[in-house]
């Protein structure tokens, strides 16, 4: 137990250092862009897992990213807010919207919750497409201002956005880690494992389900806001249903049971379409195949791979620890 948390702490400190080195020495815009997208997906998959931690499978993420992206853009372009305030505003707005729709949504359980969360994505995307006067409609939104510089830092180069996203990712993951290991996180887990019992011990399950959904929405909005300022152009269909499903696949393939799972899944599956370029148009099939393989062969996700390999080569006596009853 102690050795594991120690090696976890080691990994947790090595990865950011490695990423800083990447940002300092990698110059190619292509690779920097890839790393930025990876880090965005890491935050999205991790925040989806946070919602999942409270026993709810949400597919609302695409809608919340869209919401955050347009909010960040429009707060600057229409209301003249500073870009940093707009970025925070995008996250807060997505969080608030999640909270508001969360109350009716979380009344529904299981698949019904998941279904309304899908409709939510469609409603957001359609609203953005139809509300032409505000959002530019189907043709999208262009010329979104880049973040303002401060302390002599300029946000124009890929490198600068790489470091911005790195900072956002580390802070987001840090917050999510802290939440998961707090009393609130334990409450989420309780609800996830035995909903009715959680209620019996006096947990207000609705409050906590809405809370999880809102926190997830906050981070989805943050990533959306970052994306708007980074790419400086928005397409209303960019973060639709398929995008949401990809986030879900990152989480499941990596392993929804652990904190590292979605990080691993998002990283590998964002890189995969790049290294397998010739297959790019078949990617949805490839993803589906990977998903099915994982579900059947490694239900705990890629995080379980080392242990499985170890079991394959070293026979441990009595290594079973199944749930009884």
């Amino acid at each position: 137990m102690n050795r594991r948390s120690l090696s976890g702490a080691a990994t947790a400190s090595v990865v950011p250092v490695a990423l800083v080195l990447v940002g300092l020495f990698v110059q190619g815009p292509y690779y920097l862009h890839l790393f930025i997208i990876i880090m965005m997906n890491v935050v999205l998959a991790s925040s989806l897992r946070l919602i999942n931690l409270s026993g709810q499978l949400s597919l609302a993420h695409g809608g919340l990213v869209t919401l955050g992206a347009y909010a960040a853009a429009l707060l600057v372009m229409r209301l003249g807010l500073s870009s940093w305030l707009a970025l925070l505003g995008a996250a807060v707005l997505s969080g608030i919207v999640s909270c508001l729709v969360g109350f009716p949504f979380t009344r529904l359980k299981g698949i019904y919750f998941t279904m309304v969360s899908v409709f939510f994505v469609q409603i957001i995307v359609l609203t953005v497409q139809q509300w032409r006067s505000l959002t530019g409609g189907a043709s999208g939104l262009y010329g979104i201002p880049r973040p303002d510089g401060f302390w002599g830092l300029e946000f124009k180069s890929k490198t600068s956005f790489f470091f911005l996203m790195l900072a956002l990712m580390l802070v987001s993951l840090g917050i999510m880690w802290a939440i998961e290991h707090s009393r609130v996180g334990m409450t989420f887990r309780g609800i996830q494992q035995t909903d009715s019992l959680a209620e019996s011990v006096g947990i207000n399950t609705t409050t906590y389900k809405v809370l999880a959904f809102s926190i997830g929405g906050f981070f989805a909005g943050l990533v959306g806001g970052f994306y708007a300022q980074y790419v400086s152009a928005l397409d209303p269909t960019a973060f639709g249903f398929l995008f949401t499903i990809y986030i879900l696949i990152y989480m499941i393939v990596g392993g929804a049971g652990t904190f590292v799972g979605p990080i691993l899944g998002a990283t590998l599956l964002t890189v995969l379409p790049e290294v397998a370029r010739p297959l790019k148009s078949y990617m949805p099939f490839v993803f589906a195949a990977i998903l099915m393989l994982i579900i059947f062969l490694m239900p705990e996700g890629l995080v379980g791979l080392p242990q499985r390999l170890r079991k394959l080569f070293i026979r441990e006596p009595g290594g079973r620890s199944d749930v009884a009853g």
Binding site: G190, T194, S200, V201, G202, I203, G325
Partner: protein
């Protein structure tokens, strides 16, 4: 009276589950509700717990009405529940399960004391503190479910068929446990099918059939009355 239900009815949609039941638990006693499957026993407990709404009547605990209150308020008022089939948080440790039982309490000192009390009652749980709850045996899971309920420091403990699926010898220990908990000052409302367990622990007993009370009285007298025993207690 610690708990009293008067004329309580519960419906699931249009289906009646409990029809105008009067029932009460005096402070310090062990009272039992006995009846067959589907008689509405669990529904009564759920109604007390605020997990299902009641359609008529009232539920009072310690002189205050609790029907219509959310479950967390009921727990706070001093009612804890050991749900049917000993529900636990299966992927959490024994320790976490117990701590979640004290979810609404803030008094760290008191929680630590009650944890010790639970370990005195069930030394086995102390040995398995770090083990996952789902990996315990049936009897141990039942201990944990009871221990978890006690961690909220209840005045009234609701138990929903604790004997279900336990070996006869484990049921004997269970009876001793219930009596010991009661001696510690906790009143108990025990819902059961197992007349043997009820007769060992309960001082007063209600018999229900398809949602209605058909008989109430001293369990030992009921057991000694042949016709009653054959008709209701199996």
């Amino acid at each position: 009276m610690l708990l009293s239900l008067s004329n309580v009815s519960v419906y699931y949609g249009s289906a009646m589950a409990v029809a105008g039941i009067d029932l009460s638990v005096e402070e310090g006693r062990i009272v039992s509700v006995i009846g067959a499957n589907g008689a509405g026993k669990s529904t009564i407990l759920k109604a007390i717990n605020g997990l299902v709404p009641i359609r008529s009547g009232s539920i009072e605990f310690d002189g205050r009405r609790i029907d219509g209150s959310p479950t967390d308020a009921v727990v706070k008022a001093g009612i804890a529940c050991v749900p049917e089939s000993r529900k636990l948080f299966p992927y959490m440790s024994v320790e976490s399960n117990l701590k979640l039982g004290a979810y609404l309490r803030k008094d760290k000192q008191g929680i630590a004391e009650d944890l010790e009390r639970v370990f005195q009652l069930f030394p086995r749980l102390k040995e398995r503190l770090r083990q996952r709850a789902g990996s315990l045996s049936g009897g141990e899971q039942q201990m944990l479910a009871i221990g978890r309920a006690l961690m909220s420091k209840p005045r009234l403990l609701l138990m929903d068929e604790p004997s279900l699926g336990l070996a006869p010898i484990v049921i004997d220990t269970l009876a001793d446990t219930i009596i010991e908990i009661n001696r510690g000052g906790v009143s108990v409302l025990l819902v059961e099918q197992n007349a043997g367990l009820v007769s060992r622990v309960a001082q007063w007993c209600y018999v229900i059939e398809v949602g209605a009370l058909v008989l109430e009285g001293d369990i030992k007298e009921m057991m000694s009355n042949d016709s009653v025993r054959r008709a209701f207690l199996g």
